[in-house]
């Protein structure tokens, strides 16, 4: 009988009606599993709660309101996309206004209304885990990350998928994604689809979906033609043919200036939302970066040189084939080098672990390093950290990558009588929540490992300390982004501790300061670095392993100049967008009357 998901076909005059019994009520009736009338009445009431007209409010509003700070421009954008754009839009807010949140709000709204079940999110590889985390922690949505060999990705059993664009493009995966009809497709950093002849573009074009959200702060990188390509994905044919569009709206041959602004605004307002910072009325505070460059003690200096030489000799002993970017050996050596820069307890523990797996000869070598580490009484960074805590009156958010360093900081500061709380991936959800509550309450210092850099909003604090420094610039931004985000009302001060003449010191001086990393938001970084972000860490490492000290500095400097060039190109693209969208107003905050 047709009481489960089997439809009852009563399509006698062309109007198919599908009858489903998702809760198996027919089976219960036949089996005599009956409830009381009160249960039935309660059950019927429950459906009434979810049937809501589109009344200018978000059904998801009450829930999301407790988990995220919903800004008026985000709510307006979500309503506009839901009610006036039929769920297909280019979200092009300026950097830092929360496009990801906006897209997730729209998704949650469509899902609560039962319009969306199968969702695919395509992001740059570096942002996959961030999307996953944001959806999990802020929107209570468990997504599956599509990764690994193509046969291991089960597209049929997962209704909610996040895939990097690179994974999605792979032969085999591409075809599978295109063979499914998705309810919603979200493409983050959609400027990567700007060229209609690229695989990225074709992928997005060939994936079928009812609703489509494309996110980018810079829909125009070089010319108006790129905006044309993106809009054509959202609403094919809206702008006419390419030549017609160019002749109508492009004021110059390169498509860098726009004409007929009002006509363009009218057309785009059906498919595009762009809020500018100045329209939000939100306070955007500044960031001030302070590098505390420390002179190492004699003991630290000797330990640093000896361990770096050890790492280099391990690297040189690797066959060429195992020196590739993702090789486990290289990863372990990078980690060792970073532990060395983090703290003496971190490197000591790592060395002891390595010793357990070493040959007798290797163990002797490590014993010598451990001997050197035992001569370091207190890290210079810890002395500076204590001074910083004593010199500041506000709450301090301290980041380190390693658990040993976290514990070292906690113990050292508590000895000083400072109230410290910790937050790490090793803690369960309840412990983490308690830790955050403690920090909101009486604790002066919160020490976080990288796990703490995603999914936390700590706008009540405005002092950030990088006790050690990630080599990946995105990680640095994710740390700062915990406090410097919408809702922060004070300027943010970032203190980075480095020891002179170490790798970190060069990264900070020659790379991060050159591109003014600490001033950049995550959106800025994506625009600047693109896929390069994945190559930076191994490039830095190889620079040090394959050169002498001077050569390594030169290599880092070269990398810095490379990034600087990218930053300048990104800045000019931003400038072009600013100029064009100054004239073409697509803010959801205005024009709600329509």
């Amino acid at each position: 009988m047709s009481t489960d998901d089997e439809p009852l076909q009563v399509d006698s005059h062309g109007s198919a009606i599908r009858v489903t019994d998702p809760y198996g009520l027919g089976r219960s009736l036949l089996a005599g599993r009956l409830s009381s009338l009160s249960w039935l009445e309660l059950s019927l009431r429950s459906y009434g709660l979810a049937i809501q007209p589109e009344t200018g409010t978000l059904l998801s509003g009450p829930l999301l309101g407790t988990r995220i700070e919903m800004m008026p421009h985000q709510v307006s954008a979500a309503l506009k996309v839901r009610d006036r754009m039929n769920g297909r839009a280019l979200l092009a807010d300026e950097v830092g206004l929360g496009k990801t949140i906006e897209a997730c709000m729209i998704y949650k709204e469509l899902a609560l209304r039962g319009l969306v079940r199968k969702v695919l999110i395509l992001t740059p590889p570096a942002l996959v885990s961030q999307w996953h985390e944001e959806l999990r922690t802020k929107f209570l949505e468990e997504f599956t990350i599509a990764s690994g060999p193509r046969r291991s990705i089960d597209f049929d059993s997962h209704e909610k998928l996040i895939a990097s664009i690179d994974t999605a493009k792979r032969p085999g995966v591409n075809e599978r994604l295109c063979s499914v009809y998705w309810d919603l497709l979200i493409v983050d950093e959609a400027h990567r689809l700007k060229n209609s002849r690229t695989l990225n573009y074709r992928l997005a074009r060939d994936i079928s979906s009812t609703y489509l959200l494309m996110l980018t702060a810079t829909p125009i990188q070089n010319s108006l033609a790129e905006l044309y390509n993106l809009i054509n994905l959202v609403k094919p044919g809206l702008l006419g043919s390419r030549l017609e569009f160019q002749s109508r709206f492009s004021a110059d041959s390169k498509g860098r200036r726009v004409t007929n602004q009002l006509a363009l605004q009218r057309i785009l307002s059906d498919v595009m939302v762009r809020t500018r910072r100045k329209e939000t009325g939100l306070p955007f505070t500044q960031r001030f970066s302070n590098t505390i460059r420390l002179v190492p003690t004699e003991g630290e200096h000797r330990l640093y040189n000896a361990v770096t030489d050890y790492v280099r000799s391990c690297y040189e002993s690797l066959p060429e084939s195992r020196r590739v970017r993702a090789a486990p050996d290289v990863f372990l050596l990078i980690t060792l080098q970073r532990q060395l820069a983090s703290s003496t307890p971190a490197i000591s523990k790592a060395l002891r672990r390595r010793r357990e797996r070493s040959t007798p000869e290797g163990a002797r070598e490590i014993d010598e390093l451990l001997q050197l580490s035992s001569h370091v009484r207190e890290d210079s960074k810890m002395i500076a950290m204590k001074e910083l805590v004593e010199a500041t009156s506000g709450k301090l958010l301290v980041f380190t990558t390693f658990l040993e360093t976290q514990e070292y900081i906690r113990a050292s500061l508590e000895d000083l009588g400072v109230s410290v709380t910790c937050y790490s991936g090793a803690m369960d959800e309840g412990e983490r929540q308690r830790s955050l509550n403690d920090f909101r309450g009486g604790a002066k210092v919160l020490v976080c490992t990288e796990a703490g850099s995603e999914g936390m909003n700590l706008q009540f604090c405005n002092l950030v300390v990088n006790y050690d420094l990630p080599w990946n610039p995105l990680r640095v931004e994710q740390r700062i982004g915990r406090v410097h985000r919408i809702g922060q009302v004070n300027d943010v001060y970032i203190f980075s501790l480095t020891v002179r003449d170490t790798i970190e010191d060069h990264i900070l001086g020659l790379l991060y300061e050159k591109i003014q990393l600490f001033q950049l938001t995550i959106g800025d970084l994506e625009l600047i670095l693109g896929d390069e972000v994945r190559r930076i860490e191994p490039r830095i490492f190889r620079s040090f392993m394959e050169n002498d000290r001077k050569g390594a500095k030169r290599a880092i400097e070269k990398l810095g100049l490379d990034l600087l060039g990218r930053k300048r190109r990104a800045d000019s693209a931003k400038g072009r967008n600013d100029a064009i969208f100054e004239a073409v107003n697509l803010s959801p905050l205005e024009g709600d009357e329509g």
């Binding site: 009988m1 047709s2 009481t3 009852l8 009563v10 005059h13 109007s15 198919a16 009606i17 599908r18 009858v19 489903t20 998702p22 809760y23 198996g24 009520l25 219960s28 009736l29 036949l30 009956l34 409830s35 009381s36 009338l37 009160s38 249960w39 039935l40 309660l42 059950s43 019927l44 009431r45 429950s46 459906y47 009434g48 709660l49 979810a50 049937i51 059904l59 998801s60 009450p62 829930l63 407790t66 039929n86 949650k108 899902a111 039962g114 209570l140 060229n195 002849r197 060939d206 079928s208 009812t210 010319s223 094919p236 044919g237 006419g240 043919s241 390419r242 030549l243 509550n437 909101r440």
Partner: protein
């Protein structure tokens, strides 16, 4: 805070027998089946923001759990008390005396089905509807307004085949309403589709023209075909132009197909509740008296007091206002006439050769 959500969840907790106590700003829930499982919940967003307890709202995990559990229990059985035959009969007639004779109780079963109707096109609308049928598949419209149910501990049963039959019948009844609803939606959706298809077809027609013109231009000026940047060809061969045209045809078909899918109007009926109704139909033997004339008739009375009316012996239509003519014919008001002289004329008598 939505009081609808709070009332619903509190109603659930009470019905499920979970222990609930108010503690500061939260409600602490201890689950009956698993006393170690304790949840602190709140319906106040302000309290939730302080991070003390779990916020319960549409879409929150706790609320979703409550919904799931509640909706699985949407099947109940009830018994309807029988109607009072004297009261029911008092509405039946005037102009003749009614004497109630033997009353026989005939047990019956009906099923009341509750549906959530969902219409999806480019947007979505939902409403709930009820369909009530007796076990023979006849629509039992009288059951819709009835509310004085009593929980039934020993309900009548419906077999699998009967249930399937009743569900099929209910779907047919639903379909009539759905067709009406769909018509308006379809009209709007077809307008949207036509405009989208025009847009897409116009666009690809232009692209095809451009490709052919490029090829024609290159041929007439003997321009050597070269590919320009950004996908625009500066001059293309006829073969390349035809290749492009074929690609545009493919994309046009793809886009039009997608628009059709987006504008496709679908209706889905989800069964959200089932109410098995046991009741008795009263078969009453009634004597009608008018002067010397008397007749015995049988009347069925439903639990809501509605009569299954007798048929007029003159016009063969059901009659509410029953009359008995001096010759003993049961007729309706319209088939009986009292003349100025006080004589009664009955349409049945005029036809009756013995009248």
């Amino acid at each position: 805070m939505s009081s609808g959500i709070r009332d619903f969840v509190m109603g659930y907790l009470e019905l499920a027998g979970h222990e609930v106590r108010s503690e500061r700003d939260c409600y602490v829930v201890r689950f009956q089946s698993d006393p170690d499982r304790i949840h602190a919940i709140t319906f106040s967003s302000e309290v939730a923001r302080r991070g003390q307890c779990e916020f319960v709202a549409l879409g929150s995990p706790f609320f979703n759990g409550v919904l799931e559990d509640t909706r699985r229990r949407g099947v109940a059985a009830v018994r309807l008390p029988s109607a009072d035959p004297v009261v029911a009969l008092s509405s039946m007639t005037s102009g003749c005396r009614v004497v109630l004779g033997a009353v026989e109780e005939v047990p019956r079963t009906a099923l009341k089905l509750y549906y959530l109707l969902t219409y999806t096109s480019h947007r979505r609308s939902q409403r709930t509807v009820e369909v009530a049928l007796d076990a023979s598949g006849q629509e039992a419209t009288w059951l819709y307004p009835v509310r004085n149910y009593v929980d039934d501990e020993r309900p009548g049963r419906l077999g699998a085949k009967e249930l399937e039959f009743v569900l099929d019948r209910s779907a047919s009844i639903l379909k009539e309403g759905v067709d009406l609803d769909l018509k308006g939606l379809k009209d709007e959706s077809e307008r949207l589709l036509a405009s989208a298809v025009d847009r897409i077809q116009g666009y690809y027609a232009e692209l095809r023209d451009e490709a052919r013109n490029e090829a024609e231009f290159a041929r007439s000026r003997a321009v050597r075909p070269t590919k320009g940047r950004g996908g625009i060809t500066a001059g293309i061969s006829s073969e390349e132009a035809e290749g492009l045209v074929a690609e545009y045809d493919r994309l046009e078909a793809l886009e039009v197909g997608r628009e059709r899918a987006r504008c496709d109007v679908r209706a889905e009926a989800t069964i959200i509740g089932m109410l098995l109704v046991s009741y008795n139909v009263l078969r009453c033997h009634v004597e009608l008296h008018n002067g010397d004339a008397s007749r015995e008739i049988s009347v069925r009375i439903l639990p809501n007091g509605a009569l299954d009316p007798p048929m007029c012996e003159a016009c063969n239509k059901p009659i509410r206002d029953v009359r008995l003519c001096p010759n003993g014919h049961v007729v309706g008001q319209e088939c009986i006439e009292i003349t100025a002289q006080g004589e009664t004329r009955c349409a049945a008598c005029e036809r009756d050769p013995n009248g």
